[in-house]
């Protein structure tokens, strides 16, 4: 690439004095007349049409595709500049509050990196998101099409905010399914109308929970609403200890009961049967004996 060497300017200067690149075709010396008899038996094929566009089809230079080529991340910077120019152009349009702006699922950082194909740092992507959010705050009724199309280019595929959660109901066999968690335990309860039979992992309640307190708390949702003899429960519990399992069942049972009788919600809420206890064991940290306990102080 001659223009990258130091002598490029000198060469370019020299090229000024060169003959023009377009030259006329030379007329052929031998000439035939229409009246002459044809010498060759096979007539020569006609010359191809003159290509007037030869000059425009000749390569001249190799140049970068983007004006931000030398920054190392040209696509990202082009996006930022485009968004900034849009923001400046429509700065005077009225805006709505952030809470009233339509909810948009922008690219997550890894998705955006795939989209531009460059290693974009988190901080820079956040600054880009800020511009997107400002543009999104322009009043939706008068938002220009240009802004709309630009913004939609930064949305991740599929709209996660369009999916509505389907409310759970009792299935065709009259079963209500509820899940609950407490500490390390997970419980799944299948609740049907019946005579008050309870099976925990295929065993009776007394076999699984030796303590009366645990049995009480496991069936607390039924007991506090006086429905112990009106439902049969088929329970699966996994993980954790006895207390955790019992209280996981409480939550799962409360949730399953709500599907049968939604009117019980205030009672169950007040009784604490559908309140989630989100406490978990705190992790141990390095430099400490337990999660928070410091090692005993030794003088030396």
């Amino acid at each position: 690439m001659a223009w990258h060497k130091s002598t490029s300017l000198a060469q370019a200067m020299r090229s000024l004095r060169l003959t023009p690149t377009l030259s006329k075709p030379k007329p052929s010396l031998s000439r035939t007349y229409a009246t002459e008899a044809e010498a060759a038996s096979v007539p020569a094929a006609a010359a191809p049409e003159i290509n007037f566009e030869a000059f425009t089809q000749k390569p001249a230079r190799i140049i970068p595709s983007s004006p931000s080529y030398f920054s190392g991340s040209p696509r990202f910077i082009d996006h930022v500049l485009q968004l900034e120019s849009l923001q400046a152009k429509y700065a005077s349009l009225p805006t709505v509050a952030t809470s009233d702006a339509p909810r948009m699922a922008w690219f997550k950082l890894p998705q955006f990196r795939d989209y531009v194909g460059e290693p974009v740092p988190m901080k820079k992507y956040k600054s880009l998101l800020k511009i997107l959010q400002r543009l999104n705050r322009i009043q939706p009724e008068i938002r220009p099409n240009e802004v709309q199309t630009t913004l939609s280019a930064f949305l991740r595929p599929g709209n996660p905010y369009a999916v509505e959660t389907i409310p759970r109901t009792v299935d065709e066999h009259g079963r209500a399914r509820g899940k609950g968690k407490r500490k390390e335990s997970t419980a799944v309860v299948q609740l049907v109308e019946g005579e008050g039979e309870v099976l925990v992992n295929g065993k009776s309640l007394v076999e699984v929970f030796k303590r009366v307190h645990d049995r009480e708390s496991a069936l607390w949702a039924l007991r506090c609403t006086q429905r112990l003899d009106k439902y049969n429960a088929w329970i699966t519990v996994r993980g954790g200890g006895v207390t955790g399992q019992a209280e996981a069942i409480t939550l799962a049972l409360g949730r399953a009961l709500l599907l049968h009788e939604p009117g019980l919600k205030p009672v169950l809420r007040k009784a604490g049967a559908i309140t989630v206890d989100a406490r978990r064991v705190e992790r141990k940290k390095p430099g400490r004996v337990k999660a928070r306990k410091m090692p005993t102080w030794v003088k030396r």
């Binding site: 690439m1 001659a2 223009w3 990258h4 060497k5 130091s6 490029s8 300017l9 060469q11 370019a12 200067m13 090229s15 000024l16 023009p20 690149t21 377009l22 000059f55 425009t56 089809q57 000749k58 390569p59 001249a60 230079r61 190799i62 140049i63 970068p64 595709s65 983007s66 004006p67 931000s68 080529y69 030398f70 920054s71 190392g72 040209p74 910077i77 500049l81 009225p94 194909g117 460059e118 009043q139 009724e141 008068i142």
Partner: protein, 347 residues
């Protein structure tokens, strides 16, 4: 006494005269009652087309939603009342130097003075190599000679124009806060390239690694892209600029060093504390004032614009001011100079 009487008579005559004229006038005088006046006035307002309220109502009729109506109403309100008040004719618009930068032919000492290009650094921080650009000392600060600045700026503008006219890649680098818009605008005018964030060290000396993934294209003399040659660009070495314009050489030591290693000429704004030998074409000026750097970047951008226009005009006539790359050369392997898959590559 006689004189006084005649005077009185004369005065009386003169007082009577307007009364007589009243009787003589053909138009009968009809006093307007206040009730009538009140009745007529609203009709007049409605029929008058220049009524601002009416225009607002008409503008609202075209809009659909309430928000659009509001905006239309605001606009018509602004239109009607913008003529009121005073007009300020001479004022300083800080955006103007970025939006509409001056041409190199418009450089004047007044313009440079207004942009504070003459202010250097405290005398204790000076680089003695800059003594030939320094006009004097004022309040412990070096003052750069404006006529020297103008001369060097004109020379730099000429360099930029000639490089642009020969199809060179011009890189504008201004990495200080606030220089971004000026740098982008100058690059846009000169059809050049810009850097307003950190220069990644090694972009020239280790370009394969840092700029290898950035896209390039093959263009013809009229700057139209030729997509047929896209396949030949895969293994090409990364591009290097033909001219670098650095607005803050003190912070871009690495950039200038790499340019020196790669024989890339540089233009730099040299303040009194900078080393003028670091750049090929120094412009002695204040590099700490955004006004000064924006002005200089704008002028150089305009120079590049003129050069590009010249080059494209020549291309329209079928001439190029540079050695165009040939299609055969594009197809050759850039490292061995042999056709791809040939003997040269095997060895």
């Amino acid at each position: 006494m006689i004189i006084r009487r005649t005077c009185r008579q004369l005065l009386a005559l003169s007082q009577r005269a307007p009364v007589s004229s009243r009787f003589q006038s053909t138009l009968p005088e009809t006093p307007v009652t206040p009730v009538q006046a009140v009745q007529t006035s609203p009709k007049d307002e409605i029929t008058r087309p220049e009524n601002p309220l009416l225009e607002m109502v008409q503008a609202q009729a075209g809009a659909n939603t309430s928000a659009q109506q509001e905006i239309a109403a605001e606009e018509s309100h602004r239109k009607n009342f913008s003529k009121l008040g005073t007009t300020v004719r001479t004022f300083y618009d800080p955006e103007n130097v970025i939006r509409n930068p001056p041409k190199p032919s418009q450089i004047s000492l007044e313009m440079l003075l207004a942009a504070q290009t003459h202010l250097g650094h405290s005398t204790s921080r000076w680089n003695p190599q800059n003594s030939r650009y320094i006009f004097g000392i004022r309040e412990g600060v070096h003052i750069i000679s404006l006529d020297v600045t103008a001369a060097y700026l004109r020379r730099a503008a000429k360099v930029v124009e000639e490089v642009a006219a020969r199809g060179g890649l011009i890189l504008f680098a201004g990495t200080r806060k606030g220089q971004k818009r000026a740098v982008v605008k100058a690059a846009e005018l000169a059809k050049g390239y810009h850097i307003f964030e950190r220069w990644i060290p090694g972009s020239l000396t280790n370009g394969e690694q840092i700029l290898g993934h950035c896209e390039t294209k093959v263009v013809n003399a009229l700057d139209e892209e030729l997509p047929d040659f896209k396949a030949d660009l895969a293994d090409r070495p990364s591009l290097k600029p033909d001219l670098v314009i650095c607005l803050n050489p003190l912070e871009n030591v690495v950039l200038l060093h790499e340019c020196g290693l790669n024989n890339v000429p540089t233009i730099g704004i040299i303040d009194t504390d900078a080393d003028p030998t670091r750049v090929t074409y120094p412009i002695p000026a204040n590099d700490d004032s955004l006004r000064a750097t924006c002005l200089i970047a704008g002028i150089l951008g305009r120079a590049g614009e003129a050069g590009q226009a010249r080059r494209l005009k020549m291309a329209q006539e079928g001439r190029t001011t540079y050695q165009p790359i040939k299609a055969e050369v594009l197809h050759l392997d850039p490292f061995t100079g042999q056709p791809p898959g040939g003997e040269g590559q095997k060895k």
